[in-house]
C-alpha cells in the first residue's frame, strides 16, 4: 500500500505542478473592434411619390428637370423645354448648328456692312432712291449738323473717312438686298404709275427718320421676333433630358406608407382589444373622424361600419371609438393636412390574434 500511495502522491504532484506551470491563465479572447454602422431611417415617401418627368423615358439616376437658377421667362410655365414660349410640343433635339467653317469664308466682306447698316436696317433698300428724301427730313437734321461742325473735327474727319468706305462697301450690298424683299413691291409698282413709288418713299421716310431719332429700340424688335425654337418643348427651363416620371409631381399631398403606419401605431396604442372576441370577423369596425391642423380631434368620431348587432360587436365599436378619442392629439406632418383632415381607421381584432 505504501508503494501505491507514494506513487499516487508523486504522480499528482507532478501533474499539478505541470498544470500550474503550463495551464496558466489562458490568453484573453481577442475581440475585433467592429465599427458601428450608422443607420439612417429614410421615409419611404421619397420613393413612392412620382416625380414629374417623361413616362416613356428610361429610368435615370438623376431626376430631371432640375429647378433652374435663371428666372423663368414664362412665369407659370407648365411644359418642359428650353423654349421661351410654353408650348404643347414635345421637346425634340435641337437641330445641329450648321458647320461654322462654311460661314467663315463669306463673313469678312459683309461684316463691315452690318456695322454701318446695323442701326438703319432698311436704309440699304432706300439708298438708290432716298437721295431726294433728305429734303423733307432736313427739318430735323439741320440741328445735329451744326453740332457736328462745332464738335471736334477729328470725329467728322473719321466719319468722312468712314463714309467713303461704307459707301464703297455698300455698293456690293446693294446687289444682295434687292434680291430679298424690296423686289416684289417693285414688280407690282412696275405696272402702276410712279406715284406709288414716290408715295412709298415719302411714307417710309416719314417713319424712318423717327426711328433714327428715337434711337433704335431693340426691345420692340425683340418682341416681334418669333422666339419659339424649332425644337419645340415648353418654357420650363431645364437642360436635362426628362427622366421617367408622371405628368405631374404627386409629392406631398398623400400620406406615405410610413406616415400611415405612424398614425396606425398612435391609434393602436390606445386600443383595448375587446376581450372574449371569439369571432374577430364580426367585430370589424370602421371609424371616421375629422382632425384639425394641430392634430386634435374635431367633433366626435363616427362609426361608419360594424358595431351593429349583439353586445360584443357594440362593445368593439365603442372600444374603437374610445381608442380614437383617447389618443386624440395625433402627431402628423402638418404640411399634409389635406390628406389627414378626414381619417377612416379600420379596427380589425382578428388580425391581433
Amino acid at each position: 500500500m505504501k508503494a501505491g500511495l507514494t506513487t499516487s502522491v508523486v504522480m499528482h504532484a507532478a501533474l499539478l505542478g505541470f498544470g500550474l506551470l503550463t495551464l496558466s491563465a489562458p490568453s484573453a479572447l481577442e475581440v475585433a473592434d467592429v465599427e458601428s454602422l450608422p443607420v439612417d431611417i429614410i421615409p419611404i415617401e421619397d420613393l413612392t411619390q412620382i416625380q414629374q418627368g417623361d413616362k416613356t423615358a428610361a429610368v435615370n439616376e438623376k431626376p430631371a428637370p432640375k429647378p433652374t437658377q435663371r428666372p423663368d421667362i414664362v412665369a407659370d410655365a407648365q411644359k418642359i423645354g428650353e423654349n421661351s414660349v410654353d408650348t404643347e410640343a414635345k421637346p425634340t433635339p435641337e437641330p445641329k448648328p450648321r458647320p461654322v467653317e462654311a460661314a467663315d469664308a463669306p463673313p469678312p466682306s459683309p461684316e463691315p456692312t452690318p456695322k454701318a447698316a446695323e442701326l438703319p436696317k432698311p436704309e440699304p433698300v432706300k439708298q438708290p432712291e432716298p437721295k431726294p428724301e433728305p429734303v423733307p427730313a432736313t427739318e430735323v437734321k439741320p440741328q445735329p449738323e451744326p453740332k457736328q461742325e462745332v464738335k471736334p473735327d477729328p470725329v467728322a474727319e473719321t466719319i468722312a473717312a468712314e463714309t467713303p468706305e461704307a459707301e464703297s462697301v455698300q455698293l456690293p450690298t446693294t446687289a444682295p438686298s434687292p434680291a430679298a424683299r424690296p423686289q416684289p413691291p417693285q414688280a407690282q409698282t412696275a405696272k402702276a404709275p410712279d406715284r406709288k413709288e414716290a408715295e412709298k418713299p415719302a411714307k417710309e421716310a416719314s417713319a424712318k427718320p423717327k426711328s433714327d431719332e428715337k434711337s433704335f429700340n431693340a426691345d420692340e424688335v425683340a418682341a416681334l421676333l418669333n422666339k419659339e425654337k424649332p425644337s419645340g418643348g415648353g418654357a420650363k427651363r431645364s437642360a436635362e433630358q426628362a427622366s421617367l416620371g408622371g405628368d405631374k409631381s404627386t409629392g406631398g399631398s398623400k400620406l406615405s406608407q410610413s406616415e400611415m403606419d405612424a398614425l396606425r401605431g398612435q391609434v393602436q396604442r390606445c386600443w383595448n382589444i375587446p376581450a372574449g372576441a371569439l369571432d374577430g370577423e364580426a367585430l370589424k369596425v370602421s371609424v371616421k373622424f375629422k382632425l384639425d391642423p394641430s392634430g386634435a380631434l374635431e367633433g366626435s368620431p363616427e362609426i361608419i361600419a360594424g358595431g351593429g348587432g349583439d353586445g360584443a360587436a357594440r362593445a368593439a365599436a365603442e372600444a374603437a371609438r374610445r381608442a380614437v378619442s383617447r389618443c386624440a392629439p395625433y402627431n402628423l406632418p402638418a404640411e399634409k393636412y389635406d390628406a389627414w383632415a378626414d381619417v377612416i381607421v379600420n379596427f380589425d381584432p382578428s388580425e391581433m390574434f
Binding site: 500500500m1 508503494a3 501505491g4 500511495l5 506513487t7 499516487s8 499528482h12 500550474l20 496558466s24 491563465a25
Partner: protein
Amino acid sequence: MENIALAEPSAQLSIWALFWQAGWVVKLVMLGLLAASIWTWAIVVDKLIAYARMRSSLNRFEQVFWSGQSLEELYRTLSDRKTTGMGAIFVAAMREWKKSFEKGAKSPIALQSRIDKAMDLALTREMERLEGRLGFLATIGSAAPFIGLFGTVVGIMTSFQAIAGSKSTNLAVVAPGIAEALLATAIGLLAAIPAVIAYNKLSSDASKIAVRMEGFSDEFSAILSRQIDEKVAQKG
C-alpha cells in the same frame, strides 16, 4: 460569503489563482476531491502490483504443484513461509489433513468436509485481501462528480450573490466566479473517471484470480478425497 471573484474582475485565471479565489466551501470540496483522487490512484497502483504478484505466484505454485513433487515435501517447504493465494489454500488443507491423521481420524467423510471448509476459509481470506478497497474506487467513481457539482453550485451561488451586490452584469465580472466554480466539477470528473475505469478493470481481474483459486481448491479437494479413500482402504 466572500466577494472574492468580484473584487478584481480582471483577476488571473490560472488554475492556482482560480483555486485561491474560491470560497471556503468550494476550496474544501476541491481539496477533498484532490485527496480522493490521490487515494484512488494509490489503490489502483497498489492493486495492480498486488494482482501482478498474485498471478505470478499462482503460476509458480501451479508449476511446482503439478511437477510430480510429493505433497508432503511441498507442505514442509511452504509451511515455514508466509504463503498467499493457492499456497495458502494448500497449506490450510494440508494442515487440516495432517492434524486429522496424526490424531487418528475415524470418519473419512467428516475429514473431507473439514478439509473443504478449511480451504474455503483460506480462499475467502485471500479474496478479501485481493478485493479490499475496490469498493472505495466504486464509491469515488459514482460520488465524485456529484461532490464536484456541489462545489460548482455553491461557487456559482456565491458569485451570483456577489454580482447582485455589485449591480453589474458585465461578463468580466461574471466570468471569473463561474470559471472558479466550474473548476470544482472539473476536479470531480478528473477523480471519478479513472476510478470508474480502474474499478471495472480491477474487479474483473480479481474475479479471474478467484476463479483460478476456486478451481485449484476443487481439484485439490478431489485429490485429497482420493487419498483419504486410499488410506481408509489400506487400514481396512
